[in-house]
Symmetry: C2
Subunit: 376 residues, 2 copies
């Protein structure tokens, strides 16, 4: 259950209790695909950068090092060293982008490992078993991530199948949570709304999903290349049918501007690889906008990445030094920038929460919604 | 001056005062070639891993980002964030291994940048000026690093020229230290003993070098592929001619066993890329010997890298997790292993110092001199 503390229009300031701690929402989940944040950031760095939730990828961890091995080693928390909430994404997007020889059937998906080509079958039950072995705080339902644009006929068939899969996920999760050797017997399950960019299909799918009374609801299949207006329209379309007392998660989103628009439409949780991926290329989020540290003008610049930022990188290192590290191809460049960008995102969410607490969310949004997505 | 606290045979337990702090010797200097330790380790991590001295490379930093830029930015300490002693190696080895079109003349060396091919001239005066701009604690003399094996005739001619260069280095350093806009007016200069593997040439060169009354004396041109017996024999040959009250530095050495042999022959300072380079390939130094973390048996091993090690990596992470990070090609693997190996080296020097303080150095050496260089 999500306890709503304040509202501003559709925007919600909440607290979401989990077995691994309370998540203050709106929140950004920090992406650690293979059980680690790319850029040499460890689980023990996460507290320093204000992370509340770590997000790991079921598909990647199933392949390597293997979910059974992680269970033997005590689960993802013990394995990675992070003791806060962990959400496991099923990695549908990865199955669809990395794997080859994919075949979707009623029972599940047949595909080949992108690492060694070996054949893999994954259905709703297998996905729940893997996530139970990983012992994440929150498991995501097994769904089909349909590519846009899709025909209405295909989208309807896919949604129907995903709905049947969801029922199987719920049953399997209940069974797994009742077993004596399950690591996290209070593992939660979030359903995922699909329906491509067809509003009526999205709404119908959301209504049916809500009937299953799950622990939370995600909106999937967005931020995959469609115009952002479509994304915002769909969020607004399904929002009335998302149970108010449950957390809402917009998958794979996005820029600071996208997040502000999502919050203003009632979303509580976000995740995106953008802050860490862009950081590894020297693209920094700051309160003045997006800065490209590769620009030659930073070679002699003694300022921190962001003049107002108290993150471990900005407290200690200059733009000139980090610019040099990028030119010298030294991996510390990536670490310092990933630390900064993730701190920025987590702190940005804190500022959103503060503005909701103070009743100034609309002013905050108006000030930053375009500025933060603009290049300096 | 080096204050000698204890002795055990030729081994010395000392304190070496510098303008940036006192170095407890014997000490290992941590290699940060381009102003950073490879493997995403920052200057702010160095205290956690027991580092006393950071070693940077004059040649690399002259090319990129440029010593004049570093001077404008306040010197290497401010640039990197490390506030302890810094030694700048001239990078002769790099000039000879990376640079092309090298030509050695009486005035200095002509070569091409390994980055962009532009022609560069560096002589004793230029090297001192660059190191003065970098504002390191200790500058190294400009010398020729002769490849082994060399003829006696070539080695003699090279030593004579290096000796003339050394006189010019000393004069230029004195001039630079007297200038009002010099960042570190107490910059020290170490001379470098050369002479290939010819004992009599080494001794003659050491005697002449000692006459210049420098701040410290290095033994160069060793650990470049010659049998280790040659290295140990040469150290013992020149030791009687190294001023007792000045620090002695064996350049580019080496394994823990090499270091124990060096200390037992009267050496105070060491540096080597081995701990950080090997770490990046998963080869770990431990008190049980050298461990290759890529070995499949570590995939399910919950122990830390070294059972007795209190380093940040061993306190927190398992062999299984770090093994996974290597397989998944995640750069955190390198950071965690570099942190461990450098901690191991720095802590190993601390244990050597403790054994000298306690009068147990010979026992300590006998126990570890072969063990630590042996694969588990």
């Amino acid at each position: 259950m999500l306890k709503i503390i304040k509202k501003s229009g559709f925007a919600r300031r909440g607290e979401f209790d989990t077995v691994d701690g309370t998540i203050q929402t709106p929140a950004f989940m920090n992406v650690a695909t293979q059980g680690v944040i790319k850029g040499a950031v460890s689980a023990y760095d996460l507290k320093d950068i204000g992370c509340q939730v770590q997000l790991c990828n079921t598909y990647h961890l199933h392949l390597r090092p293997g979910d059974k091995r992680i269970k033997e080693l005590g689960g993802l928390h013990k394995f990675t060293g992070w003791d806060g909430p962990i959400l496991t994404d099923i990695g549908g997007f990865q199955v669809f982008s990395l794997a080859s020889l994919r075949k979707i059937k009623e029972e599940g998906v047949y595909f080949s490992s992108h690492i060694d080509g070996r054949p893999i079958f994954m259905g709703p039950e297998e996905s729940m078993q893997i996530q139970s072995n990983l012992a994440s705080t929150i498991a995501m339902a097994f769904d089909e991530c349909v590519e846009n644009p899709a025909t209405l006929v295909y989208a309807e068939r896919s949604c129907d199948r995903t709905m049947r899969w969801l029922t199987r996920c719920k049953e399997e999760m209940a069974r797994l949570n009742s077993l004596s050797d399950t690591l996290n017997k209070k593992q939660m399950l979030f359903g995922i709304n699909q329906g491509c960019t067809f509003d009526s299909l999205r709404v119908e799918n959301m209504q049916k999903t809500a009937e299953l009374d799950l622990d939370g609801y995600a909106i999937g299949g967005l931020a995959v290349g469609e115009p952002k207006e479509d994304m915002y329209r769909i969020i607004s379309a399904v929002e009335p049918y998302m149970p108010a007392e449950k957390p809402r998660y917009l998958m794979g989103v996005g820029t600071p501007g996208n997040i502000l628009e999502g919050v203003s439409r009632g979303v509580d949780l976000f995740d995106c690889v953008m802050p860490s991926r862009n950081a590894r290329h020297g693209h920094l989020f700051t309160w003045e906008g997006i800065r490209n540290l590769n620009n030659a003008k930073y070679a002699s610049d003694e300022s921190p990445l962001d003049a107002t930022c108290p993150c471990p990188t900005c407290r200690r290192h200059s733009r000139a030094y980090i610019h040099h590290l990028f030119k010298a191809k030294e991996m510390l460049a990536m670490r310092l920038c990933v630390m900064h960008n993730l701190y920025f995102y987590n702190n940005f969410m804190q500022e959103i929460r503060n503005s909701l607490d103070n009743g100034t969310f609309e002013t905050f949004k108006a000030k930053y919604v375009e500025l933060l997505d603009t290049r300096v």
